[in-house]
């Protein structure tokens, strides 16, 4: 195959990365390992732990809102809940979820490399992640309690409140650096470590989206870093920067905040889109429709995503020119996403579709992301945004995008790749049951928010007018259904890891990308010899034969 084969020195079976013994043994072999796969697993465990915490806070918030007035907690506690929920879910779950777990684990494999460009830096970014996470949690036990500002830390409230805002700010700052280092690593990896035969247009689409995401991480994150640092400085040293009492401009803070935080939305969704592009052709058993359009739309999203931040601020009283430009640009950013959705749908046409659990999540992704995207377009329309801004319409919208989009893509990736990562198969039937419960619960939970938002239910409200009670009630019931589904899904995984059927087959689903050509679970060095890529990654030459093999 490849002429410049690398000698491995052993002829027998290579141990998988799970069994590999390096310099350190046991737990140290994990937390000191610079192997991208082990770091991926470290992220998997830590990100999921934070996800569960986020879910718990979300659950408590919904429970509080089941009826008007005080139900289970006081207003003060509720305000802390939604801040923690936001900070945890955004900075500790959804931003690192797909890039840090699956990007770390599979990006090098997908491009035929042995590791990322800077393995030690990679480990450092995990440590920064853990430090940031612990800092955010530490504020819970400190006197004064966690921040009650919402995850946006708007000035001047964030310099007035007595709660431990600094912990949350510093946590976000450190997590930002973790994210920057991951991005920097991935950009360099994609440029330098692709297997020699893999040209840019032979890269899998998930690599394209990881690459686009990484650029946004590198370029946008420093802005939030400095902004949050300035708030810390303002709080501690009383330097006048944003605080209007010292002559500052609170709107400027919002601009700087959203210069990062809007691109961050694309840091969250782009990897999810990459996962969708990766999984659809595998389960439709045919090539993806419009490879180049999907690849370029990732870059276009990353680019346009940096131009539209102020659509979070249509009500602050910007200049007319500002409103006009930002609304127009916001409309433009919808187009690449639409292109992706159409191409994904077209990929199903004349395929041979297998509704395995990963595919179910992906199809649900397209549906939920479409709702999220279309409601997003509505908010780009200024006249509508004026009405729905800061209402539960927004909350519904971004949960459709972030949870229904990225979250579902994340679940799909779990079902798609976990067997590859651990060599154990989960129970397919249970996975499907869990899927339907989650999908149903999700819509029950978030759809009512869209309606009551339009009717004028503001967000971050602990209490509400009686007319909104039915919607809140249904929504809370939805949260129970959703959580039930999550519990089934994750117990399924846990059971599979302990007693699931062992898989050693290389190609579990009939995929054509490189990770399906190596051992399950992968060996320490991923590839025995340097892989040669002949065509772009979604060519299904002999569909039926591949199917036969799989069934055997």
């Amino acid at each position: 195959m490849a002429s410049d084969t690398v000698a491995l020195g052993t002829n027998g079976h290579e141990p998988s990365y799970l069994e590999y013994q390096g310099k350190h043994k046991g737990i140290l072999g994990w937390i000191l390992s610079t192997d991208h796969k082990r770091i991926g697993i470290l992220y998997l465990c830590s990100v999921l732990s934070f996800f569960f915490m986020g879910v718990v806070f979300g659950f408590l918030m919904r429970l509080e809102l089941i009826s008007p007035g005080e139900t289970i907690v006081t207003a003060q506690t509720y305000n802390k809940f939604f801040t923690l929920h936001g900070v945890i879910m955004i900075f500790l779950f959804i931003i690192p979820a797909i890039p840090a777990i699956f990007g770390n684990f599979f990006l090098p494999i997908l491009i035929g490399a042995k590791d990322v460009a800077f393995p030690r830096l990679n480990l450092l970014s995990w440590y920064l992640y853990i430090t940031g996470g612990l800092l955010a949690l530490m504020s819970i036990v400190m006197p004064g309690g966690p921040a009650d500002t919402g995850w946006t830390f708007y000035i001047p409230y964030s310099v007035r409140t007595d709660t431990n805002v600094i912990y949350a700010l510093m946590a976000a700052f450190i997590l930002g650096f973790s994210s920057i280092l991951t991005g920097l690593n991935f950009v360099t990896t994609v440029h330098r470590l692709r297997t020699p035969s893999m040209s840019w247009f032979k890269m899998p689409l998930s690599v394209w989206s990881f690459y686009a995401t990484a650029w946004v991480q590198v370029l946008a994150t420093p802005i939030i870093g400095i902004t949050l640092l300035l708030v810390v400085i303002e709080r501690v040293l009383h330097v006048g920067i944003f605080d209007p009492a010292l002559g500052g401009d609170p709107v400027l803070y919002q601009h700087l905040f959203w210069i990062y935080s809007h691109p961050a939305v694309y840091i969250m969704i782009l990897p999810g889109m990459g996962i969708v592009s990766e999984i659809i052709p595998v389960f439709a058993h045919r090539t993806i429709f419009g490879y180049k359009f999907i690849a370029f739309s990732s870059i276009a999203i990353a680019l346009f995503g940096s131009l539209v931040w102020a659509h979070h601020m249509f009500t602050v009283g910007m200049s007319n020119a500002g409103e006009f430009i930002f609304s127009l640009l916001t409309m433009v950013v919808a187009i690449p996403s639409a292109i992706k959705v159409f191409n994904w749908t077209a990929t199903l046409y004349k395929g041979s579709i297998e509704l395995a659990p990963p595919m179910l999540y992906i199809l649900a992704f397209i549906f939920l992301f479409s709702i999220g995207g279309l409601t997003g377009v509505m908010q780009g329309v200024i006249a509508i945004d004026i009405q729905v801004h800061d209402t539960s319409f927004i909350v519904g919208h971004f949960h459709y995008v972030m949870f229904g989009g990225t979250g579902f893509a994340f679940f799909a990736a779990l079902h798609y790749w976990l067997p590859k990562m651990f060599g154990r198969m989960y129970n397919i039937k249970r996975a499907k049951v869990a899927f339907w419960i989650i999908f149903f619960g999700f819509n029950v939970l978030y759809f009512p928010m869209l309606i009551m938002g339009w009717l004028g239910m503001p967000r971050r409200y602990y209490d509400y007018l009686p007319q909104f009670h039915p919607y809140h009630f249904i929504s809370t019931v939805g949260s129970w259904i959703l959580i039930l589904g999550l519990i089934i899904m994750f117990t399924n995984f846990v059971i599979s890891l302990r007693k699931g059927e062992k898989v050693t087959k290389k190609n579990l689903w009939g995929g054509e990308t490189l990770e399906w050509q190596i051992d399950t679970p992968p060996t320490h060095e991923n590839f025995d010899e340097i892989p040669v890529v002949e065509d772009y990654p979604y060519v299904y030459k002999d569909n039926e034969i591949a199917v036969e093999e799989e069934k055997v």
Binding site: L8, G9, G183, L184, R192, P222, I223, G247, I259, E525
Partner: protein
């Protein structure tokens, strides 16, 4: 990269200097945008309080600022010369130039220290009564002055430490004429610190 040597078996020790530089440049972009964020704040406030910024800038000592600019530019020269020296396999000369760079950086910091102490002496420091009684444009100007030059000073301090480490690396033979990427990346960082000062200097000292 030497880091890869650790994870991979000895057969294919992989060094990718170009990759390392690529990574360094990406890191520099984050630094650039970090300061860029503060320049954004600066430019908006300068736009909304032109007069007050104009007058407040007169408080700053142009001579000290110019002197410091010269020092920093010279340190950039010695930095790049130390790389040129190691390329020519002249270890001693390289170490000498690195030492000069550190010396100049320390000079810069000493100057900065005196400049700040004079301001403090006049009661102009964050949260001081003198300052809080001024117009909001003045508060913002000095707030930004302290934060931006302060953060820049922090970068200079970090630079001093890194160059000191490089001096040790060079003398121990870790940085050599055919493997000097660490020193080269240090140089890139140092020049970026210089570039940021190139913009800080006119915007704070020269807009009177």
């Amino acid at each position: 990269m030497t880091t890869q040597a650790q994870v991979h078996s000895a057969e294919h020790v992989h060094r990718d200097d170009l990759g390392a530089r690529l990574g360094m440049w990406l890191f520099l972009f984050t630094e650039l945008i970090l300061f860029g964020g503060m320049f954004l704040v600066y430019s908006v406030y300068r736009f909304s309080h032109p007069q007050e910024f104009h007058i407040a800038a007169k408080e700053l000592n142009t001579i000290v600022g110019t002197f410091n600019t010269m020092i920093l530019l010279t340190s950039s020269l010695t930095m790049v010369l130390s790389i040129a020296a190691i390329q020519r396999d002249n270890k001693k000369l390289s170490i000498f130039f690195q030492f000069l760079t550190i010396l100049l950086a320390v000079f810069f910091m000493v100057n900065k220290f005196f400049e700040w102490s004079v301001k403090f002496h006049h009661g102009i420091y964050p949260g001081s009564e003198t300052l809080l009684n001024e117009k909001s444009g003045d508060i913002l100007f000095f707030g930004l002055y302290y934060v931006m030059t302060g953060l820049h000073g922090l970068h200079v301090l970090v630079g001093i430490v890194i160059i000191a480490v490089m001096m040790r690396f060079t003398s121990k033979g870790i940085v050599t004429h055919d493997n000097y990427i660490k020193l080269e990346n240090t140089g890139l960082y140092w020049h970026l610190v210089d570039i940021i000062w190139i913009f800080l200097f006119p915007l704070f000292y020269l807009i009177t």
